[in-house]
Subunit: 566 residues, 2 copies
């Protein structure tokens, strides 16, 4: 069951659903012609199919381990990483000044998607580096940029993000790691960080850690946090890895999945670090990096959904049982329903992610605040819905396999175990939903209403040719509009209580809109039949979700801790 | 975070929600007075808390393994099993004639529930034996009964079920294992069986396998299947384990979870077996056993939901983070929402399961076909919704833990990995849904409509005191009634296409009915606040599910295998 890069799906969504043409119509991305994008995705797809996909099981059966303080990676991961780096796939969106290709985020998103589908554990490594590159591009001094960026972009060095501490998870402001000035412009970083993905490896020349810590006298909370670049090996005068820094991997976590990615407990013991951005302004730099990382993690979920889907489809086409015309279980209506659900949900999540990527590209190319607001609005939705879809689709993949799905040898269960963390890291999906109803509605709902105007306007036009699909999409958008109005008029306590069902209801409506666009663009096609399936059978879920979202906090906090323990 | 048996919940549901009093009002179960039931559940709870719960992690960290053809069980499991057997907990519903207590299925259900919550992997062992006892009670010869039943009921011997073969999973009729008459009344059984839960152990005196096989000249399909009892050791003249039979454990499956339960590939090589029931009538005997096993597996899901909930609640009450009044994450609205969802869903699934148990008891006590039809209707719902709830609640438990949920040491992930199989074994949840819309609506919906009459009638009465809760329950029941009417009027192809959303929508409405009953019985209580939460926030999901359920097969099978592979 070899993995096949879903190039046709990217083409369909980019060309007919999220209007990628407007990105290439800008000066900044004029070089990203359709032919060039096609060629790039084709090349990336080849690498994913031939090099990465065969490594997927190794991450699980031959996990990363800690030996004498050094992380030893899974069999074949070093070669896989080399293929990513040599192909230039670590950071194709990076600034050409430092060796990047300056390509749109939409193209990066497709490449990250297929790398995640092929081998999530290994793909997490360049995803971390991408975030670091972006943070350095925006906030580092020219001197740091000159030393680090070319090596990160080429993949010679890897990057990590160090936020979490044992007592400071979702509440980043509670962190206590310290940074003391050394008097020479560098800082001595001391503290323990946990959950550091790819905190070490045995295939890159250096591992560069971005570490949040507090300077002496810093304010409590998030306002007293600064960001430091702390390399494993301190670059020498020529910029080559020099003496070892005072940091170490203390242990690896024993996780439910993603065993190919070493999740490290890191100890910094007066390690030498360089300030990135201004003092006490570390959160702003982290947010630059986190926004795109949130898209990146959402896309991990979508990639795993793709991998799990292809895996289950191959099984269903091959598994002989029962007396259907096909002779295999794909002839059973319930198996067909599961597979169609998997494909339709993956399409919806992918279209949302690529729509976000286009918004980021348009914001970068035009500096238009409306595009930036659109990107900000879509970020938590793409992250949470992408990862929830990854989990739901992988679980359906297990179910399609029946008993074989619970047996590890088939690999179906690995998708589910691997992807489960994506709903937790990079801000739990609950945090994403709170971001959506809090920060992202602080404009009084303006960005949301603008998006709803587009959805309704498209549905109104589509009524002429696709009345049975356009009408429910229009109605759903109207229900979502009323819900946004209700949330905007309510206080934060009410909004936070219903943030998660609201986000999912929003994603349902968005997914329906993008399916409708596909159906209109390609009548009488597989895409239009899938759109009809989604709009008829999955879209109605929004009714319950948005009813929940309008319930506010009434009756929720009245369920006391004592009630819960009763 | 020690496990606490949820005795108050059992009391609430038995007394105020599913009218267990009508069971004890029958002659057959007159001895099961409220005091006696309370005492029994208290004793079982003590054993679960003190003996079984401490073994839960051992099943995962010290899995069952195959050594020289013999299964070695997890550390402490032998002692745990002894406590179950010596306490008389293997089969409290079994006929007193063979050493059972003849207690109602409702009491068994509570005991199975808390054993599953405490240690699912070990509980699966007596659950298999319970099914075997029931099959033998109904179908075995008096001679077989006399030899086997006392030892199975006492727990001295264990029982297993052998249905699946590599080419015959959900399609049991495709099995090819053979049974040849030996001429002395016994049969020589030959074939390979897979997915045999607890196919062997190192703590019981014998392992008795119920094996489906074909006699010479048997018809193809399910009509040519017979059932045989095939013990690991052939009982000698005194009924003690004698010579080893010609069967062996070939290998154990490497599964996603439930590592404490050995899932065996079994080879029968002319093994001596005894016919149970009539020739070629094995499926009928299997169905006797499977119906109650389906309730048993549904209850496994509910038990795990309970375990995962208590585990997550303890974490949330302890985890300091943020600035809520409580100082811990339980003060966050989204954490409160997750915990309330977990508790409300567990209540709904448990009430459905206990309502089914009461129906089984009433059917057994009165032989009333209406009670039997009610039990038949509720069986697939209890199995599928109970296990789906186990999975959903365990996944929420991981989410409440944040990053710690993905780290195996906390045990949150184990609940999710362990419970995932319950949606697959004992008939996948898709098969359950097909049973519901097929066989269980063959009465033209009569049993379903009778249940809906009760639900609406209760809601009508409750309107006087609880209008805000009673009205949505009545409306939801009406929508469900319309959906049942639509299904009854449609053909099987249409029904099978929507079976899964229909089952879940049905369960949603049932859950709301039972919550309403609790709210009416206990005004201004934790239960009534939880009911309001469920009815306001979770019940609305039925709208989307039942809309899907009314969509028939239109547009589903038109999504061709080629479309899916596009």
């Amino acid at each position: 069951m070899p993995f096949r890069a879903p190039l046709d799906d990217y083409r369909l969504i980019l060309n007919d659903v999220v209007d990628f043409a407007q990105v290439t119509a800008t000066d900044r991305f004029a070089e990203a012609t359709p032919d060039m994008v096609d060629a790039i995705l084709g090349e990336a797809g080849k690498m994913c199919e031939e090099v990465l996909a065969p490594l997927q099981r190794n991450g699980d059966t031959d996990p990363a381990r800690l030996e004498n303080g050094v992380v030893r990676t899974s069999r074949g991961f070093a070669e896989g990483y080399r293929a990513i780096a040599e192909g230039g796939w670590v950071a194709i969106a990076a600034d050409p000044e430092h060796g990047g290709m300056g390509l749109p985020m939409a193209v990066t998103t497709c490449v990250n998607d297929m790398m995640s589908a092929a081998c999530l554990a290994l793909q997490l490594n360049p995803l971390m580096t991408q975030g670091q590159i972006e943070a350095l591009e925006h906030h580092a001094s020219d001197e740091l940029k000159a030393i680090y960026l070319p090596k990160l972009v080429s993949g010679e060095w890897c990057g990590t993000m160090n936020l979490t501490e044992p007592q400071a998870g979702s509440d980043v402001g509670a962190l206590t790691s310290k940074a003391e000035p050394n008097g020479d412009g560098t800082y001595a970083i001391t503290g323990q960080k946990i959950y550091i993905s790819w905190g070490d490896n045995d295939f890159s020349g250096n591992v560069c850690h971005l570490v949040l810590a507090r300077l002496p006298g810093a304010a409590p909370g998030t306002k007293g946090i600064s960001l430091f670049l702390v390399p494993k090996f301190i670059p020498d005068a020529q910029g080559n890895p020099g003496v070892a820094n005072s940091l170490k991997v203390v242990s690896l976590e024993h996780k439910m999945g993603l065993h190919g990615s070493a999740t490290c407990v890191m100890a910094y013991e007066g390690a030498t670090g360089w300030l990135v951005g201004e003092q006490h302004d570390g959160m702003r730099a982290m947010f630059t990096m986190m926004n795109n990382a949130r898209l990146g993690v959402g896309v991990q979920g979508i990639g795993v959904a793709e991998g799990a889907y292809q895996h289950a489809l191959a099984y269903a086409q091959d598994r002989k049982q029962g007396r259907s015309p096909e002779g295999t279980i794909i002839g059973h209506a319930d198996v067909r329903r599961m597979l169609a659900t998997m494909k339709a949900e993956t399409f919806a999540a992918r279209a949302i992610a690529l729509s976000l990527a286009v918004s980021i590209d348009m914001g970068n190319a035009t500096d238009d605040p409306e595009w930036k607001a659109r990107a900000a609005l879509l970020t938590p939705i793409a992250k949470a819905f992408g990862t929830d879809t990854g989990i739901d689709v992988a679980s359906l993949g297990v179910q399609v396999h029946g008993g074989m799905g619970y047996v590890e040898e088939t690999g179906a269960a690995q998708y589910l175990r691997d992807v489960r963390v994506t709903a937790i890291y990079e801000g739990t999906n609950g945090i994403q939903a709170m971001d959506l109803v809090g920060r992202k509605l602080m404009d009084g709902g303006e960005a949301a209403f603008r998006l709803l105007d587009e959805i309704e306007s498209f549905a109104e036009t589509a009524r002429a040719t696709h009345p049975a699909l356009a009408e429910p999409v229009w109605q759903a958008a109207e229900t979502l509009r009323e819900t946004v109005e209700a949330l905007v008029a309510s206080d934060m306590a009410d909004r936070f209580a219903v943030a998660v069902p609201f986000l999912r209801g929003f994603a349902r409506v968005l997914g329906a809109h993008f399916h409708l666009r596909a159906a209109v663009a390609r009548p009488d096609s597989a895409a239009s039949r899938l759109a009809a399936f989604y709009i008829t059978r999955l879209l109605p879920e929004h009714v319950g979700l948005l009813a929940h979202a309008r319930a506010g906090s009434d009756g929720l906090m009245e369920i006391t801790p004592d009630d819960l323990a009763a």
